[in-house]
């Protein structure tokens, strides 16, 4: 089973071992990835022809993806423990070559476009798989993303599903202070997408919404998942600094206790 607690624990362990940051953005998508990898994605093998595709377009949360791929059995413990070591495929952003990574991300605003190309190809070939792309709310600052939003709606790419990690936070502040995105769902809707809302930390709610999507027909779908940056670790939640900071020993112990308590 792939569960959010295990993903969070791996995020904390690996960040501590490697003494690196990007903890907040990884924690905020732990529940979304748990639901996707445990309940939604058809993914028997990383190279299965009919597998559902998943692109983590907000590549800076790669550690959450590595944790899910480890729990899925695609990535070994040895590979996982190489996170942020010299010569490792597992860096701060997902790189092609690691089983389960469909596309190298790290530059925001490109993942949805590649997903749209995959969805177009699937439709032309009559293939049934779906394409899920997880973007961050701040990634919606990127103009290139909206080129794809327009295209996917115009061409009714029904198998394309975007999930917005809507944590209201970006690198240097709150999204509403930096570049206000609200009303985010309405923006996607006005571009022609079918818009759903979900509590990005409620496993059952996420499951219901994602399982309920009709990807056979109609416009592309977007799930705006409300999240909290750093979710699960009390002193990180909603704090911009935890986009970057690594943990000291005391913070690490407290963080582990927090996720245990919220298990």
């Amino acid at each position: 089973m792939i569960d959010a607690y295990s993903i969070r624990k791996i995020i904390l362990e690996q960040c501590k071992r490697a003494d690196v940051g990007h903890i907040g953005p990884a924690l905020s998508i732990a529940d979304i990835l748990a639901v996707l990898y445990d309940r939604i994605l058809f993914l028997p093998k990383p190279d299965h022809a009919n597998r559902d595709r998943f692109i983590l377009s907000k590549g800076h949360a790669a550690l959450a993806l590595f944790a899910a791929l480890f729990l899925k059995g695609f990535v070994t413990k040895e590979q996982l423990d190489s996170y942020c070591t010299d010569g490792s495929l597992l860096g701060v952003h997902p790189e092609i070559g690691l089983p389960g990574v469909e596309f190298s991300t790290g530059s925001l605003g490109q993942g949805l476009s590649v997903g749209a190309g995959m969805a177009l190809a699937a439709r032309m070939k009559g293939e049934r798989h779906r394409i899920f792309v997880l973007v961050s709310d701040a990634e919606c600052n990127e103009g290139a993303l909206w080129e794809t939003v327009m295209f996917a709606a115009h061409h009714k790419l029904s198998r394309l599903v975007a999930i917005v990690d809507n944590d209201g936070q970006q690198a240097l502040g709150k999204t509403k202070d930096v570049l206000d995105l609200s009303p985010l769902g309405d923006k996607w809707k006005s571009f022609g997408w079918e818009v759903y809302k979900a509590d990005g930390h409620n496993i059952e709610d996420l499951t219901d919404v994602l399982k309920g999507l009709n990807t056979e027909t109609g416009p592309p779908k977007v799930v705006v998942a409300d999240t909290i940056c750093g979710k699960g670790v009390s002193f990180m939640e909603g704090k911009v600094a935890w986009h970057y900071l690594p943990m000291n020993d005391e913070q690490y112990s407290r963080a582990l206790r927090d996720i245990e308590a919220n298990r």
Binding site: G117, L120, G143, T148
Partner: protein, 309 residues
């Protein structure tokens, strides 16, 4: 070359069902027949070059062979990062076609002048960079490279009429095609401007200066072997390109010749300053920037006169 491109893509699409053509809303009077014959494999994605490349990336990952089309400036620069992180990094068979390099868009001005596309393209390792000299070479270049592994940038000229004499469409990836041989100097040319290089060589020959003229049609892979065998025979090498003199053919020749210790003189004929707001016909702009046959002859004679002084 545009019509040669359109016709060749139709020929290739007929025999290879993977081939797709995506345009960012350009190609009026060029792709109508392709769109009619292959409606499922032609998409106008709108004026959206970043998405054009992302779509091409996803399609290529799914087994298609997408040709992406826009004007050279928009094709090469607007989605440069998307191309680097997508088709180049993932080594996917995406083909970016930049139409109308150099001053081919004439009165359209600097936003439409492709003056750095070849340079920035060849900087990417494993990105094949091809710039045919005329319509015939376009056909052969496309047919012999369209299904190569990995990504390709093609700079395709607009002119289908002017044919470079004696080239006869010859094209070999990473090689130099020799048009005429002489001992006085080596001229190397790339792309549409090759017709001016040819005329310059003829004018020089009429005054007793015999040039060897070689057409370079791919900067990546670079014609390293041919340059190594040709250069030692000459004291003067002149590169001719409708491109900034930094980064393109002249830079390539400088890099390679310096690396193997050639001691001669290199004259890089290209665009050496930003054209600013000044626009004009292609012929006018070429002349203004020293790339007309007459201006090439003048520059070459000047260097030769200096050498003999």
């Amino acid at each position: 070359m545009r019509r040669a491109l359109a016709k060749t893509l139709m020929d290739l699409a007929r025999k290879d069902s993977r081939l797709m053509l995506l345009t960012a809303d350009l190609g009026f009077m060029v792709f109508e027949e392709f769109a009619q014959q292959f409606p499922d494999r032609f998409i106008n994605v709108g004026v959206a070059e970043a998405n054009l490349v992302g779509l091409g990336t996803g399609l290529a990952m799914s087994g298609y062979l997408p040709f992406l089309y826009s004007i050279a400036t928009f094709a090469s620069m607007r989605p440069y990062e998307q191309f680097r992180n997508g088709p180049v990094l993932h080594q996917l068979p995406v083909r970016m076609v930049g139409v109308g390099g150099g001053f081919e868009y004439g009165h359209a001005g600097i936003t439409h002048y492709g003056l750095e596309d070849l340079g920035i393209a060849r900087m990417q390792p494993n990105l094949t960079v091809i710039a045919p000299a005329d319509a015939f070479q376009t056909i052969y270049a496309l047919k012999s490279t369209y299904d190569l592994n990995g990504p390709i940038y093609y700079r395709i000229g607009k002119n289908d009429i002017e044919i470079v004499p004696t080239l006869n469409g010859r094209f070999r990836l990473g090689r130099i095609e020799i048009l005429c041989e002489g001992r006085s100097l080596l001229m190397l040319s790339i792309g549409s401007i090759s017709i001016e290089a040819w005329k310059a060589a003829e004018k020089l020959a009429a005054t007793g200066i015999k040039a060897t003229l070689g057409i370079v049609s791919s900067l990546n892979p670079a014609p390293v072997g041919d340059l190594q065998s040709l250069l030692p025979n000459f004291d003067l090498v002149v590169t001719v390109e409708e491109h900034y003199i930094q980064g393109g053919l002249g830079s390539l020749a400088a890099e390679i010749s310096a690396e193997f210790g050639w001691k001669g003189r290199l004259l890089r004929c290209g665009v050496s300053r930003n054209p600013g707001g000044i626009a004009g016909s292609e012929a006018y702009m070429r002349d203004l920037h020293g790339l007309s046959a007459d201006r090439l002859v003048y520059s070459i004679r000047k260097v030769l006169d200096e050498a003999h002084r």
